[in-house]
Amino acid sequence: MSYGSLVALRDVDLEVSPGEVFGLLGANGAGKTTALECVLGLRKPDFGKIEVNGMNVAEKLGSVMEIVGAQIQGASLQDRITPRRALGLFASFYRHASAVMPLAQRFGLEEKLDAPFDTLSTGQRQRLFLALALVNDPRLVVLDEPTAGLDPRARRDLHDLIRSMRSQGRTVLMSTHDLNEAASLCDRVGIIDSGRLLAVGTPASIISSFCADSAVGPAGPSLEEAFLRLTGRPWSPGTETES
């Protein structure tokens, strides 16, 4: 996958199992968002194939999106639309859709159901986008930096939500540059850097593979240490340009 002469993703070969929470880890500009956008059909890979539930994304995007829910960066809604209208509108595009009220209650939006979008706080907007991602009761949920901009409490709530998705048997594919979040939430992670997938495995297996001989601090070896070993530079998520 490339933008002009810039190769954003190269030789990515990855399989995510049903019911798994998989995290893509990497600094800004590493290629996480591009990878997720390819899965969602927003970008077309130069070559290769992406399948969701056995369906080729490039050929059956409509069918794929029936079973995929997504929260992506840079998306927004009209200023004057209310959560009630937005949930109702998006639900009406799917064959199997959740009812508006239970979703709103689940995401703590019941009191803001009739408030215009531009009056919602960042956290409320994020919750609305998560609710929209689940409006079609999806089998695969794609979350791009879902905790970005959230306060600690909202983060905890989101972590609980992702765990509940796993317990419901949904597959979650998420990107994050929060290594602790990835370690605590994800069944497996993939470390991506400069468009290459450097390592894939459980957080523990990656740490043990790449930090077995390291001198570690009191908390033991970490994904941060593994990242240093894999890329040759310290973990610094915010210093590069956005992908």
Partner: protein, 436 residues
């Protein structure tokens, strides 16, 4: 379909709740209406000859400013990015936006018509079905151009700038703001290369019943709109922050070439002469040309061809004639903006009555003469009549007048011949060569 319907309704609702959309979509057209009204209110009926222009301005604003402004604002905010995750081709959602815009523009046009009627007494469209079809076609064509603007503009200010590039030339020299008849010859010809002229023509025909079917204008708008829509669809960008690809210029050129092709064809086929500019050439008629016109061999006033009754007096000499006089006075084709074409239409009316062998053919011709003398001073009427005589094939020709019960459609060359005979009889009387 349910989702698309909800999206369509939501677009309408959000538009109604947007102050900016109300200002650009409804208030600005009303300002134009009032501005036109203050200039043309003295005409009888007021604004009738300008409704094509006013409706075109309304549609142009909604389609080339309102629609792309909304679309680009939503794209740059990432709203379309979210829509792309739906299990539906995003093109259908754009279709829903365009359909909503047709409704919005049509409602603004309706408001324009109702306000013109309420404020200035402008009659309602003579042919409502044709007027509605015209509004829909013009809107669809201009929405195609709006799509191109939306595809080219990187942000909302760019939409305004690009929109003005289309809007201003059409207003100033495209026959949309300033009437074609008031433009110099080069501008009248140049206007044929822009869609505004055809939009005004089509809408005006639906409004005042200008003779002719407007098929050429409709076809011109369809070609220009389709080329623009194709280009806009191919260049459309869903993602915020992206720029137009370098290879997009051939497509944009293709859309512009359609304007060039239509203008060239219209120019070569004579359609530019027939639209709008009408019979304004009567102003160039000289005294020598008028003096050279012969009245020999004219049929007598009581003969079979071109009958003309004696002067009728104020109330008319037969019962029921007053109704015919009123119908002639209110007949829309007689009231078009161009006095030359208006007079030719009335002469054609007399010609149609004559060919129809209407029981009142002589009286109708006399009433046409009286009507012409009332509306155009004798001096101007002489030039107009001479113009009709010397250039019988110019301008448009009415071949049926259902408004006066003359429903049969006659051959144009026959009606034109009769119009010339009547023009000679009238001119002879005005110049003292024929005595009543």
């Amino acid at each position: 379909m349910k989702g698309l319907w909800r999206h369509f309704l939501l677009t309408l609702e959000l538009n109604i709740r947007s102050r900016q959309a109300i200002v650009y979509g409804y208030l600005v057209p009303v300002i134009f209406l009032v501005a036109f009204g203050s200039v043309f209110r003295a005409q009888t009926p007021a604004l009738l000859a300008q409704m094509g222009q006013l409706l075109t301005i309304t549609i142009l604003g909604g389609a080339c400013f309102g629609m792309p402004t909304g679309l680009v604002a939503e794209r740059e905010r990432g709203i379309w990015r979210r829509y792309r995750l739906l299990p539906m081709p995003t093109g259908l959602l754009v279709g829903s936006i365009l359909a909503a815009r047709v409704v919005i523009v049509a409602s603004a046009a309706l408001l324009q018509v109702v306000l013109a009627h309420s404020l200035y007494g402008t009659p309602f469209p003579a042919h409502p079905a044709q007027a509605i079809a015209g509004v829909v076609l013009v809107t669809a064509s201009f929405l195609g151009m709006g799509l191109v603007i939306a595809a080219c503009a990187n942000d909302v200010p760019a939409v305004q700038a690009l929109g003005q590039c289309i809007f201003l030339p059409m207003i100033m020299i495209g026959g949309v703001g300033i009437p074609l008849a008031a433009l110099p010859a080069w501008a009248q010809r140049f206007s044929g290369f822009m869609p505004g002229r055809y939009a005004v023509d089509l809408l005006q025909r639906g409004y005042d019943g200008t003779p002719g079917d407007g098929r050429f204008s409709a076809a011109a708008l369809a070609v220009m709109g389709a080329a623009a829509a194709l280009c806009g669809a191919r260049l459309f960008r869903w993602e915020p922050g992206r720029r137009l690809r370098a290879g997009s210029w051939p497509l944009l050129l293709g859309a512009l070439v359609s304007w060039l092709c239509v203008g060239t064809y219209a120019s070569r086929s004579g359609h530019l002469d027939a639209l709008g500019s009408g019979d304004s050439g009567y102003m160039d008629i000289t005294e020598e040309q008028m003096a050279a016109i012969s009245y020999e061999n004219l049929p007598g006033d009581s003969e079979f061809v071109s009958r003309l009754s004696k002067p009728l007096g104020k109330a008319g000499s037969m019962s029921g004639l007053e109704n015919i006089r009123g119908a002639i006075a209110e007949w829309r084709p007689g009231q078009v903006a161009d006095p030359g074409q208006g007079a030719r239409n009335l002469l054609c009316l007399a010609g149609v009555a004559d060919v129809s062998e209407d029981p009142h053919e002589g009286e109708i011709a006399r009433m046409v003469f009286d009507d012409l003398r009332q509306r155009d001073g004798d001096r101007q009427l002489e030039r107009i009549l001479a113009w009709v005589i010397l250039y019988p094939d110019q301008g448009r020709c009415v071949t049926t007048v259902p408004e006066l019960g003359l429903r049969h459609q006659f051959r144009e060359d026959i009606v034109r011949d009769r119009a010339v005979l009547y023009a000679k009889k009238f001119l002879g009387r005005l110049r003292g060569s024929i005595r009543d």
